[in-house]
Symmetry: D2
Subunit: 294 residues, 4 copies
Amino acid sequence: MELRTDLALEARELAGENIHGVDYTVQQKDAIEIEKMVIKTERAGQLLKKPKGTYITIELPPLTNDFQDTDKRLVAIGEEIRSLLPYNGLVLVAGLGNIDITPDALGPKTMSGVLATRHISGEIAKSTGLDKLRPVAVLKTGVTGQTGIETGEHLLSVVKRIRPSAIIVVDALASRRLERLGCTLQISNTGISPGAGVGNHRTKITEETMGVPVIALGVPTVVDAVTLASDLLSVEQESDSVKIRERVSPKGRMMVVTPKEIDLLVERAAKLISLSINFALQKDFDIADLVALL
Amino acid sequence: MELRTDLALEARELAGENIHGVDYTVQQKDAIEIEKMVIKTERAGQLLKKPKGTYITIELPPLTNDFQDTDKRLVAIGEEIRSLLPYNGLVLVAGLGNIDITPDALGPKTMSGVLATRHISGEIAKSTGLDKLRPVAVLKTGVTGQTGIETGEHLLSVVKRIRPSAIIVVDALASRRLERLGCTLQISNTGISPGAGVGNHRTKITEETMGVPVIALGVPTVVDAVTLASDLLSVEQESDSVKIRERVSPKGRMMVVTPKEIDLLVERAAKLISLSINFALQKDFDIADLVALL
Amino acid sequence: MELRTDLALEARELAGENIHGVDYTVQQKDAIEIEKMVIKTERAGQLLKKPKGTYITIELPPLTNDFQDTDKRLVAIGEEIRSLLPYNGLVLVAGLGNIDITPDALGPKTMSGVLATRHISGEIAKSTGLDKLRPVAVLKTGVTGQTGIETGEHLLSVVKRIRPSAIIVVDALASRRLERLGCTLQISNTGISPGAGVGNHRTKITEETMGVPVIALGVPTVVDAVTLASDLLSVEQESDSVKIRERVSPKGRMMVVTPKEIDLLVERAAKLISLSINFALQKDFDIADLVALL
Amino acid sequence: MELRTDLALEARELAGENIHGVDYTVQQKDAIEIEKMVIKTERAGQLLKKPKGTYITIELPPLTNDFQDTDKRLVAIGEEIRSLLPYNGLVLVAGLGNIDITPDALGPKTMSGVLATRHISGEIAKSTGLDKLRPVAVLKTGVTGQTGIETGEHLLSVVKRIRPSAIIVVDALASRRLERLGCTLQISNTGISPGAGVGNHRTKITEETMGVPVIALGVPTVVDAVTLASDLLSVEQESDSVKIRERVSPKGRMMVVTPKEIDLLVERAAKLISLSINFALQKDFDIADLVALL
């Protein structure tokens, strides 16, 4: 049976820590641990079932509204995001997922906090200094079942029109380990692959398909119940995977494991990510000012 | 390890089907299966870990908005509820649980659809026939962590004031089996016991504490992850329960298993239950009229 | 002072009923009154401050959930929408406005009920008959202040990608008369003009800019307070318009007049419009089936 | 015609500034203007159509999330609230109004931010210092149309059970002037009178009916359209009030004037008031800590 995870960190745990072609480093910055993993070869990517590229993982603070204490983390996250972006130019920030399904709502909920600036221009902007803001466009793509449009198709049509220098996509992830739910942010420059995310996207959203760098941000909000079951049972013994799948995914309904307070978790992760993106994109502005602006 | 369930049906499955002092019957009404279980002795109650009383279980329709097709089910549910209520007199309907936590929101969400009528009186009511409505009061109790008031305490204070002839409480339940999530309605005349429900109430809400009959309605919205794990592993072998608990309830956080589309499931169960309660309470009114009134 | 209205009906009331180049007819269909106005010349359009084209106005039912009783109205509305659409081909349905601002939320809220079908294809669709559904894509455009993208720009980029045969846009309107709030649906084939809608769009969304027919649907949700004041005072006497504007739009804040229960009004209008659009687009399907599907 | 206002300040403007038996002072505290009005005699109360007692009015900050800048205001408001409360003992904080009707939702929305502490006790509380928190209970009363229970009746039943030393009620108000919408907080020790608030309560909630001091907090969210019209027209000339009422309240529907962004206004006022109440009640705790706790 398959252990499903969108986290490169967990893919490495599963595949083994000594794979050739994978660089792994841990850095401390202001007491925050930043794990960086670079998959450098196609072969390593195949072993890990993740595309070649850079994956950064940062632990999130416990559930709290206290943004004074999370300033350092916000700065660390913002700087890592910025390190993957071109130095200037329009950035399109897109929230993937279904706002009506709590564990899939991270993307659209994050978008509500990202500062759109592409439309700010003219004399008033100049006189207030707002013309120094980096141009940003913000999109909630919706989900194919509700729009009839593939997420990648929607993004591409907007990209062709507004010609961003890079795209940031935010999406809810599935992890293998329950302790990571809501506690881990993954930043990568590899975009989104089919089958990833809580909503299981069907199209690739990558530099290859979009024509510009695609930075993906995600926080795990669920563990697939099939993964949990496989994980629990494989520890003990080999088992009949079909029988287990029937028990934890009755009639093919996808069952997920989440903290009971999943609503709160998504709300707060969305707030932290949106503030980090704002910090990454508007580097000449003070965080407090940005918080006030929103 | 403990297999947690709020469903009497599952308690019977666990304890065995041939317990002395338990009556179990299955009835067909308009193609709807109604399972009725009566726990008649204290000893049977102890074996099942459920209070003495009547437990009725009805399968819910699949997720759909098509209330034309669910009319029969609505009637069946309404008639079972009515069978447990006094013939007339004020009824207090109370929704338990936390509206901000999706799997715990069934109670308050149901209340939004229950027709309050206790305040309707006077000449206008007479001329429109509305004075023939059974008097109903509707309460969202909130949860102790947000109110500082125990749910039972809150209910009791209102009961002493408005003197209902019976109370209906609606609450989200935990089941043992994933296939029952959102698919089973339990109706009982035993009220709510400590530790029951998704939110784990701490006080008894029963005829004994309230002084009037307490009808409890609930639909399972979660399986406790500890229960799922215990269930999966006990099938195979005895295991170290502490180790398992740490894995599926890291740092003591309660993890739950739900369908991915839990928001939809709660929304629709709430709608069906509220319509059934309205039908149970306002027997002289047409269902279509009631739907129109709301 | 200006009397602001997005309703062609009210523009005609203001400009006079005997303008050359305007056809006006009233039709009864199943006890539902359908007013049809055709502006045939540029000059008539200038006098009415509305673009040339067809404007259909239908009275909405009082606030009620009783969709059995509104079936006829739904059919009437659906048929009028269909009469303005090409016979077949993909239709893009777009909800304009800000979902976080209640009186501006009609567009996005309506979209939640419109059936997207463009992605339904393949063997399963064939075997269930769903391949006979007309292809429909559904978009919530968001508002420029939150996206950095002009509504028209967003629509056009998607249009270029998916190549619809027509566009339906839904938007909240401003009327002159309070009694029309929530009670009138306007259907036109003239698209959306700058300055229209509650959110005051800045770009044209018309057949000219989009390259395909644009059907606009709207319900008035507000009367601009400046319009109400002008209206009240002009009846009596000429007045200092600057002074009045300062009183009813202090510090330039836009003040609107709405029914107290504006949330309910928007919710129900959105439901009715989405059902009507579904009926217009899926003419081979039964209304009851469509309701069940959603 | 009647000019409806729940603000004592505006009642004074209407009745004249030199009424015998009314004390009026303005104080500056940290650049914040605090207007205090004391109605000392029954006769003055009759002239002003407000009960005898103290009314404090504080200007609110413009719409912003920047709570760093609003700390001073929060402290000023908190200290005024505290000045009207008994020195210690349980406080019941109650939010009045309908959470589903945006302009009436201030009360229940504020409650979501008020820290309930009455249930915190025992060894854990002692070891963390939380036992020093003042006991607070928090209630959303709902509205009679949805509960069948009068707001005052609901409050009284809880008061009899939990025996608070004082009650704080929060409710949305109607003002006469548009420029005060969302910009003015009124604090009084006179409770709530019939006909006050956006929802027009029918029962008295005062020290007389509740048996303990009742502090009322409110922010105007609407101007009644009849009041606006009366105000506009009375300036110019006497007019036929019945005709005007028909125009601005067609078929008796209550029409209200609000800023377009009423949702935002209510959200932010609720946040500020809840923080101020927390500060007033938990004087031994740091504001930043309290923000973090919530």
